[in-house]
Every structure is written in C-alpha cells, then in structure tokens.
Symmetry: C2
Subunit: 205 residues, 2 copies
DNA sequence: ATTATAAGCTAATTCAGATTAGCCGTCAAG
DNA sequence: CTTGACGGCTAATCTGAATTAGCTTATAAT
C-alpha cells in the first residue's frame, strides 16, 4: 500500500476510535511512519484527508450497490440459491451477515466513524441512513421477498417483516461496536432471534 | 434556572449537536448570556462541565431505575393496567414510548451526545448500552411478560419477543435523531410494526 | 456600616496543534 | 549526465481556543 493510501487507512482507524476532532495530524503521521508535515505532500489539510475517506467510501458503496442491484434484478439466480432454504440456512444467512458487518475492517471502521460524525451535517446523516437503514432494508427485503414467493415464509407485509429481521441484527451490531466483549452474548441472541423469526414467519402447519 | 444549571443545559444542547471537541466554551457562554471567563466561576474547566452533565444524568437514571423497579415489583398493579390490552392499546403503548424517547428534550439531547461520545471510553460505552439496550429490554420484557402471563401474547421466549418489539423502535429512533424530517415515515412504520407484532405474537384463533 | 463572597467583565497568557517554508536525497525520463 | 518531480525532514509560524489575572459590583451575613 502506498503512503497516500496508508494515510487514509490509519486516519480512518483513528477517526473511528476518537472522532475527527480528537485526532491530531501528528498521530496519523506517526502511524504511517512519517512526520506530520510530510502528510501535506499528499493531502492539503486534515479536512482533505477526511473528505478523501468519504469519497473513497462513496465509491465503494456505489460499486456495492451496483453489484447488489445486478444480483437483485436476476431473481431467477437468487431463487435458485434459496430453493431449499430452511431454518438453519436462515440462521447462517443472518449470522454471516452479522459477522461480516461486524468484522470486516473497513466496514466496521467506517460505520463507527459515521456514527460519531453523523450529526455534523446533512450529507453525513444521509449517508449513514442510506448505508445502515435504507439499503439493508431494501436489499434484504428483496431476498426475503423471494422466500415469500417461494412459499417458505408467509406475510402480507414484506417491508415490515424485513424490519423485524434486520432491526435486531442492527441493534446487536451497535452493541458490539461499543462493547466488543459482548460479541458472544450478541451472537447467541442473534441465533435465537432468527430461529424465532423463522417460527413466526415460517409456514406453520 | 440559575446560571450554573443553564450552563449545563446549553452545553448539553451544543454537545449533542456537535460533540464535545467541536464546541467552544465561547459558544456555551454566549448562549448562557455571559462571557467565557465567567464560566470558570461555576466550573473549573470545559471537561468539568461535561462531567457534571454525566453526573446529573447518572443521577436521573438512578431515580428512573428506582421508579421502574418499584412499579415492576408490584405486578398486581401493572397487571390491572393491562387487563384489557388489545392491538390498539399496544400501538399506543409503543407509539407513546417512541414519541417520549424522541421528543423529551433532555432524553433526546443526552442520547445524541452519548451517541457521539460512546467510543471515547468504556464508562460512556457502558452507560449507553445500559440506557438504550439493557434497561429498555429488561423493563419492556417485564411488561410484555405480564401480557404473556395474562394470555394476551404467546411465546416461549419473552426476551427475544422483547427484542422483536424494541429493536425496530430503537432503530427508527436513531433514524429520526439524525434525520428529523423522516419522523412521519418512521411513525407509520412504527404503527405497522406493532400491528404486525401483535398478529405474530397475539393469541391466534 | 463593614466585609466577605459570588458572579460578572476585560485584558492578558498560554499552549497545543495545524500548516508553511525551505532544504535534501532519490530516481526516472530525456 | 542532469533535471525535475516526488516525498521526506527540521525548524518556524500562525491561529484559535482554553484558561488565568485582576478589577468591579451587588448582596447577604456579622
């Protein structure tokens, strides 16, 4: 990784732990292994570093959205995947989703940074809501909608069913972000949540 | 309200909007209607103001916990209240809870401040989780447990049922905190959420 | 009446932390 | 070979924001 990227990487780590205002260019430089003034060979200000992080993230998000949309517009392929979905598969789906969000380094740091900075301006607020509310609900709504059309789940209101699926996952995620030592507890609740979700929405005999 | 309290009040407002590090003692003083140096007649530093806010909150929380526990240990009284609970009552219960959390000025500002500062140290993280995860789940679990013992709701796992009730409320709350203009949308989802919750867990005929 | 304390003000002071100036070595392109 | 861009360094500089000094007035207690 070249210096320019390393700066973004270390800055993101620090911003996600302490917030933009509590990080000194000094610390960023130190972690990168250079002196503070050298940072300015790469970015014209501390703010510019922050902005570059946001830009990079928007870029990744666009790609991601693209990818998901492509998958989504091909229900046939996805339907295949979920053909013989059962409770255990659903648990795995949810748990994997949870673990990915929780452990993927970039995702996690970005989410935490955004959590801290979300009230600074409307743009950041919008990005947060998009990423951790609208997009997950829309994407997972699509997947769960497939399960409904396959007759594996039953509901008259897919969006609310999706909310019931995702909101607990989101909430447990925020707990682990602030108290990582509660991950085991959270995973246990996750599994119980999904099993109960399956019982509630699964076709009952 | 005396100056000493007004300082805490205005500081809390500012901290909840911009975070501790982005607020200048200047701004606090201005809102209080005094000059910055006069603040130091009341608190020995900016940090001391923050600490006083936390102390005051801990105080309020203890009182609150006390009150809730007292109610809770008298199931007879509460049971009376929920004797003829139906879906509309449940919607009202949830909506009121939501609106209280959302609009109560102190609660809202405190929650937003904690959202920003939660990663600064373990104490703040613990307080956040206590207030917005553990306590609500435990208190609402008690209430919903009553409804179960009354036969109004059916489940084998009250804690997870409580998670299903509360997590969507919490999530919609965080959306409104960052994008207040989405309150109507959130209220609509709230109502649908609870109606569906009632259908899922309500005694089915 | 006197005095002590509380609470305000203006005018410094301090200091940390972002940024700039200006120098140096490296290396690839011409 | 030499030149210029790149990326690093040290030593300033600049700024802004917290805090302190020291004065003043009002009020309440002795």
């Amino acid at each position: 990784m070249d210096t320019k990227h390393k700066i973004l990487d270390e800055a993101l780590t620090l911003f996600s732990e302490k917030g933009f205002a509590n990080v000194f260019v000094n610390e960023i430089a130190e972690r990168v292994g250079i002196k503070a003034p050298s940072l300015y060979k790469h970015y014209k200000s501390k703010q510019a570093i922050f902005d570059a992080i946001i830009d990079e993230m928007n870029h990744r998000f666009e790609q991601q959205a693209q990818a998901l949309t492509i998958d989504g517009t091909d229900p046939a392929a996805d339907a295949e995947v979920y053909k013989n979905m059962d409770e255990d598969h659903l648990v795995k789906l949810g748990t994997d989703l949870f673990k990915y969000y929780l452990h993927d380094s970039y995702t996690r740091r970005f989410r935490k940074m955004l959590t801290i900075e979300q009230f600074q301006d409307k743009d950041l607020a919008r990005v947060y809501s998009q990423q951790y509310f609208d997009m997950p609900l829309s994407y997972q709504g699509m997947l769960l909608g497939l399960l409904v059309s396959q007759g594996l789940l039953v509901t008259e209101n897919v969006p609310i069913m999706t909310l019931h699926f995702y909101a607990p996952i989101y909430m447990l995620l925020t707990v682990c972000d602030r108290e990582p030592e509660r991950e085991q507890e959270a995973l246990k609740l996750m599994e119980e949540h999904i099993r109960q979700f399956d019982k509630l929405y699964g076709r009952n005999f």
